[in-house]
Symmetry: C2
Subunit: 339 residues, 2 copies
Amino acid sequence: MKKTTIHDIARELDVTFSTVARALNDHPAISAATKAAVLETAKRLNYQQNKLASSLRSGRTNVIGIIVPSLDTSFFSSVVHGLEKVMNENGYSMLLYQTGESLSQEQKGIETFLQSRVDGIISSVSGEVEIKEFYEQISKRQVPLLFFDRAINELPVPSVTINDYRAGFLATEHLIGQGYKNIAHLTSDQNLTIFKERFRGYRDALQRYNLPVDEKMIFKGKLSLEFGKESVQQMLDKQMNFDAVFAAEDYTAMGALQLLLEKGYKVPEEIGIMGFANEAFGAFVTPSLSTVDQQTIRMGEETAHLFLKLIGSKDYYGTTPERIVLDPILLPRRSSQPD
Amino acid sequence: MKKTTIHDIARELDVTFSTVARALNDHPAISAATKAAVLETAKRLNYQQNKLASSLRSGRTNVIGIIVPSLDTSFFSSVVHGLEKVMNENGYSMLLYQTGESLSQEQKGIETFLQSRVDGIISSVSGEVEIKEFYEQISKRQVPLLFFDRAINELPVPSVTINDYRAGFLATEHLIGQGYKNIAHLTSDQNLTIFKERFRGYRDALQRYNLPVDEKMIFKGKLSLEFGKESVQQMLDKQMNFDAVFAAEDYTAMGALQLLLEKGYKVPEEIGIMGFANEAFGAFVTPSLSTVDQQTIRMGEETAHLFLKLIGSKDYYGTTPERIVLDPILLPRRSSQPD
DNA sequence: ATGAAAGCGCTAACAA
DNA sequence: TTGTTAGCGCTTTCAT
């Protein structure tokens, strides 16, 4: 069964295919009668517009490319959820690419999207300096680009992020307010601004309240349950003096929590714990895990809205890039409140 | 800056554009010298193949469409994660569509994909009888189609699912084996085979062990933490005699668990709880939540592999559809083991 | 209100 | 090994 085209409809109705095309796109200059006839015939013949042809000719695909490290984390899948919903409501389809934090995958994704002639690219980067050139390729081609959560600040690209510095500060300040004085920090070894900012917030909060910043209390590694456990184990082994742990990610915090409970420590009475990201499990565990909410779905929606707004303004690369910074929401729960 | 095409490269090198095309697709009949020259020039001019044109002409897009209810659940985002990874490794891109369990959205997604001339559609349906016609449209158009997790069994379409009947049976049998005798079941009000099968497994297990099946112990609703709480609250209000709850989904089980603990019941000593889906939080809560693992990532990978295999065989709609059924993995944890 | 014609950038069959 | 040619199915400009 060959596919129906506008030519088939035209033949059936004895008009030219351009008339059919007009009717289908409801062009103003078309009689109501022919339009109705065309629509009826199209339906009868099971016509499906060929978007490839249409896009090739018009130069617009109504497709945007999304690049994320991985969908297997509630953070990114939530953001993508919000993003897709809004873009979809506005007539866009989404091509999805996971990098697995690999730079070469990220390059391949960009390449594919460019070849597919997407109307824009929305990305959460896996590397910053390393991948900068590739993103410059995108702007050179004048393809609208937007960063979310993880941005490359040196590039003049609009973005939607949260204030990670403030988040780190608030989290640490909260621990200090609860009476903890020797706060360890578990962060990522990835060279990403978000983690550096959370760390900077942590450090500044300590200094603000006249607490010493001890390099030995700062652990860098691959964020995970295991890393959380190992880091705490190390502190215990070295008999370090700590009474709280602020992890830059919830699973890591959970690892710390589990190990401490296992070893018989009381959380939050003896040791306080703060996570980051508001994973679903945090509310359910005992003691419930204090954390920072990143407004994931809202971030997705804001990203979509900013994109739509910018793409509507026609001069994407003409104006100074708008950078939306969302406020983190501190969620103090039981694990950091001894009283 | 206009985009570079094969014509630009051809002009630069004084060959015809078809020579360039051949070099770029490394056609066998092309001299090493011209090929090298073309590649060099392509790079220098920043050439990017236009996949729209290529696909329009060749009839292949190397894009597949994925339809899921929502990415904002760890189940679907995990499956999509596995799926995308494998498809990507095999040169496919993924268009993503979320239906939000809405049938009209599901129709729109199918429509869009068909218009985009995807090379195949992989779907987890939101409705069965209601949406059947639309899926028949797909097979009429000879577009490869595959179901995962939620399939429409009446349609001759290949699928990758788990054995929900067995899962329901195993879960219930486990509770019975632990000594529970009055087991309530909380399930979805959606008209989907997966839930009916879990229920059938539950019922058959009760019968197998000579326990009565009581209609009043079966609750249907929108699976969620709240639904879990409400259902249990109802049983308490009516002073019903129950000593275990098997929920068809983990959040619902969690709701049941929370309410019972709140009311001072001992889990698992007085009342046992089983969930379904192996959400991340289950391992971390106290008592840890017994559940059934659905092998999400593996399901995504199997789906991708089956799709690739079938698409390779050229005669997608010629053979009887292969239906892969994965085994569920029972994860008995603390919430169902009183001893 | 409709028709005619050009062309988006590529693939692929046929010639040379 | 390279060139020629004919579209894929549509949008869009210019005529009528």
